[in-house]
């Protein structure tokens, strides 16, 4: 705290080597330039993620090169690849093990929407089950796109961040994502062409008649 000299008319004289800032801005500046990614790489996006961290694209330029394989040392989860329903509880556990403040990048079409894998086993976008800050389009995205997402995330942290993490109290502001409406269509088979199916249908009808 600078001492207010007498007779200065309320103005504070600061030495030349002192810079005044908001505490939030200072915390954001520290946080955005030392993102430690947690590589949750499950598919080909993981290869691009590795390329992003390697020498040519050099994520160290943005202070985010320290990939750690323990969630307890990370504050940026990069989900790179499709997540199947057997993997989702693992993903959620790892996300919960990460320290606050933490952010999540959903890298590529599969992590964001399920991509081409619209099947029974693949989660149709991780943002249905964990919070996501940045989405990267692409199949897989180029390293430049991932770098752009990290730069954008840095901007977001600088703009919205607070030292106490108030920006994460989002439940009031966020709309809950609606679950997909599942197709529960019965088997649409042309029974007239298929003796096996005719037999099964007849057996089912008999069973129903017996029960009645």
């Amino acid at each position: 705290m600078a001492v207010m000299p007498s007779g200065s008319g309320g103005r504070i004289e600061l030495p030349e080597n002192v810079v005044v800032s908001r505490l939030d801005a200072l915390a954001n500046w520290c946080r955005k330039n030392s993102l430690w990614p947690m590589p949750f790489a499950t598919a080909c996006c993981g290869i691009e993620l590795m390329a992003t961290g390697a020498a040519k694209h050099d994520l160290a330029r943005f202070g985010a090169e320290v990939f750690r394989f323990s969630p307890r040392q990370c504050d940026l989860m990069i989900v790179a690849g499709r997540v199947v329903m057997k993997m989702l509880p693992v993903l959620q556990r790892i996300w919960q093990q990460m320290h606050e403040p933490k952010w999540c990048i959903s890298m590529g079409a599969c992590a964001s929407t399920g991509g081409v894998f619209d099947t029974y086993a693949v989660v149709q976008g991780i943002d249905r089950f964990i919070p996501v800050d940045m989405y990267v389009p692409g199949c897989p995205p180029r390293p430049e796109q991932l770098i752009q997402a990290i730069i954008d995330l840095q901007d977001k942290i600088q703009r919205e961040g607070t030292i106490s993490g108030r920006e994460f109290d989002t439940s009031g502001r966020q709309l809950r994502k609606r679950a997909l409406v599942e197709i529960t269509a019965p088997l649409t088979a042309d029974a007239s062409r298929n003796p096996l199916l005719q037999r099964e249908l007849a057996a089912a009808a008999d069973a129903l008649a017996d029960r009645n």
Partner: protein, 169 residues
């Protein structure tokens, strides 16, 4: 010297002598024999004894809506002999309800996970299997997703998870 794969005709002849007439066919040097489910284990045991020491694969086909199919499920056992290089495909057909076949884990240890996978994805029960649990799907899964009457996008299992928001993470 050119390598000529040994024929399995003599093996088939031995099977026919012991188990009666079995439907078989050959395509591009690959022989296939169809075995009724009642004698499937005995035939496979005889084949194991006669030198087919390697179980390459156990898998299944669902023939629902397949033109001309007479059975619902067709099991496929791919056998090989590491000493004679012979290969043989054994087909066993089973039907709803309760498609069941005797486990061959006692003949080939390799059958353990293969049969678990077939149980998981097709719902074929293997009696006598030491540990018939799901292999690839989560344990709480109830359906058998490679059956043709299971919808491709599932029955909502992939959405059945707790949602973690910022507030409780």
């Amino acid at each position: 010297m050119r390598f000529t794969p040994p024929s399995v005709a003599d093996v088939l002849a031995g099977l026919t002598a012991r188990f009666g007439d079995l439907e078989s066919s050959t395509f591009r040097g690959q022989t296939r024999v169809v075995v009724p489910v009642s004698s499937a284990f005995d035939v496979l045991a005889a084949l194991e004894e006669s030198g087919f020491d390697l179980l390459v694969d156990v898998t299944c086909v669902d023939y629902l809506e397949y033109p001309g199919a007479t059975h619902r499920y067709g099991l496929v056992y791919l056998l090989a002999s590491t000493s004679t290089n012979q290969r043989l495909t054994v087909r066993v057909f089973v039907d709803d309800p309760d498609p069941t076949v005797r486990s061959v884990v006692s003949l080939w240890r390799a059958a353990d996970w293969l049969e678990r996978e077939v149980w998981d994805l097709f719902g074929i029960r293997f009696t006598g299997h030491p540990n018939l649990r799901r292999l690839v799907m989560p344990e709480e899964f109830t359906a058998h997703p490679l059956r043709k009457d299971y919808p491709l996008q599932g029955r909502g299992e992939r959405h059945n998870f707790p949602v973690i928001t910022r507030d409780h993470s």
